[in-house]
Assembly symmetry: C2
């Protein structure tokens, strides 16, 4: 691997990652402190955008040896060696671990907005987000379907096509993209279209080239039905919807193949045959990666005009404030963001 800290971010002059606070009543503050303790593993410094007092209270509660220091994004890299740098954004005074409170929603959203601003301005090399709880934000008037859609909305530029964010779950052993995501299983067959698959696959192909540096990404598409439909006897969508998407992608020069029976795609030998698997629905993608990499999975959003990663778990209110939260996935998310930021951006759209 290259040494990310000596290289330039993708389109950015900065060599620092912006980390959002997430829901202050969740495990975000705790895993942020624990990630700083593992800072030698990450490859780039990071700056938390949040409430320094919240972090100091968390240090005191958990008895962690983490100095917390106010910083600006410009001096955070220097601070990072001796303390967790926190660029003050929002007021999380109301936050109690495990007790989500709409009074903190403004601070949560302000952290995300500032992170996007910094990433788009080139002041941060990439953006890593701590978990939020949508229901808390909804009570405070938030109206986006989720975290990722909010990031996309913040990235709209006048006169350009709005970003189409695509969620990829990544670990060293496997990358998977669910083409449909948070919808009931019964709605999957009706939602899945050739166009939707092609649209997602194009973004995956482009971002694996320009962000991951894979010259010709190999995309393996899963079938929707058992045995990929078994020649139509177990459902016709694989022949009618998925196969035409593969054909269309191949015509565009994308190294797509499938549809494959999903159950035989994810063992170690099969995984050597592709760079990313496109699954047709949530559990088809999430089951294999969480089975093999439960603590180290990273959520990467493709299709945005900046690098964005996040841990693949939620706020975990049930264990917040107890010192039990593992920072592995956040460390993996920071490390992947650093690795992607270390690559010069290629063929930006």
């Amino acid at each position: 691997m290259t040494e990310p800290s000596r290289r330039r971010g993708s389109g950015a002059g900065a060599a620092i990652l912006a980390l959002t606070q997430g829901d202050p009543a969740g495990i975000g503050p705790e895993i942020t402190l624990k990630a700083w303790l593992r800072r030698d593993e990450i490859g780039l410094p990071f700056c938390l955008l949040g409430d320094p007092d919240l972090m100091r209270r968390t240090v005191a509660r958990l008895g962690l040896s983490v100095p917390v220091e106010r910083a600006t994004i410009a001096d955070a890299a220097d601070v990072f060696r001796r303390a967790l740098p926190v660029a003050p954004v929002g007021d999380a005074a109301a936050a109690e671990p495990g007790k989500p409170d709409p009074a903190t929603a403004a601070a949560t959203l302000a952290s995300i907005e500032e992170a996007v601003r910094l990433a788009r301005a080139g002041e941060a090399a990439g953006l890593v987000t701590n978990p939020i709880a949508k229901h808390v934000l909804y009570q405070a008037g938030f109206s986006h379907p989720g975290h990722t859609e909010f990031l996309a909305a913040l990235s709209v530029e006048p006169g350009r096509t709005p970003p189409h964010p695509v969620m990829m779950l990544w670990c060293e052993a496997l990358a998977v993209v669910p083409v449909t995501v948070h919808i009931p299983l019964a709605q999957v067959p009706g939602t899945l279209t050739t166009e939707l698959i092609v649209k997602a696959a194009r973004i995956v192909d482009r971002d694996l080239r320009r962000r991951f540096g894979i010259a010709r990404p190999r995309l393996a598409l899963a079938g929707l039905n058992p045995h990929a439909g078994e020649s139509g006897s177990l459902g016709d969508e694989d022949a009618a919807v998925v196969a035409p998407a593969v054909a269309a992608l191949v015509r565009e020069g994308i190294a797509a193949s499938g549809p494959y029976p999903a159950d035989t795609m994810f063992h170690a030998a099969a995984r050597t045959g592709y760079d990313v698997a496109l699954a047709m629905y949530h559990d088809q993608a999430l089951i294999p990666i969480k089975t093999i990499a439960f603590d180290e999975g990273v959520n990467v959003t493709l299709g945005l005009p900046f690098i964005r990663t996040s841990p693949d778990h939620g706020t975990a209110f049930d264990i917040a404030g107890k010192g039990l939260a593992r920072p592995d996935s956040l460390v993996a998310a920071l490390r992947l963001a650093a690795r992607l930021a270390a690559r010069p951006a290629e063929a930006a759209a």
Copy 2:
């Protein structure tokens, strides 16, 4: 582990397994010979019910050092030490590797029928089946939906409730049962009922007690939807269909729990929390087990009046006769059948 060869089969006096021939144009003959070469791993002898000439031709084609000897089920255990015992059933003279032929269907079916007869008569301690190809059998007039349903039909006893076979996929690390199996994904939500889940779970509970010797089997039920429906926002079946099944099972004294989000059920730490996972559809069950145990998975049929296991792969006509087939799954199936046969049957229904 106990020493199966010194113990009695479940309800059977025999200490030998009956192995069916499967489709003679598939990899069955090859993996049978290779399994005999690994006979020290299995724990019980096995007797092939098939065509000795087919096996000799396969030995010659592949250059394997396996003596083949005609036997009866009664003397097969003695033969097994020096040669593969074959109890002659049917004529597979028409069989060519990789070229399925309806002319062999009668031999394939006769082998299965004889195996069931031996198992039910107590002349075999259990039954292990090589893969068949339904489309070949259909051309010859076979009318059952599949292998397992054929076995169930052969097991009907006058005046008793017909068996309700339940497929379990098993490896040392994980056991999973798909409640719905070979149907299009779009039909899963409409097919899944509380009654169907409860019916399958009762059989799983009973057979894990009496065949696997687990005193109080822990059954973990997966949700149908992403995040098990997330309180209804991602589908209502988890609250309306799956949760009532869990409640009904608990009322019966069965250690059932769930519904759980399927993506977080299958990593190593989660697997310690249950003895078997009940998944709501094919890929939800098959993805995790084939991801972690692709070559060693075993298909176990619960709910039959005898022990039945099989490898969890198909006929693999594309590689038949080439010497490439791996016997791992058949060896695992034979070994599991031997292990189950070694237990005294408990609380037979």
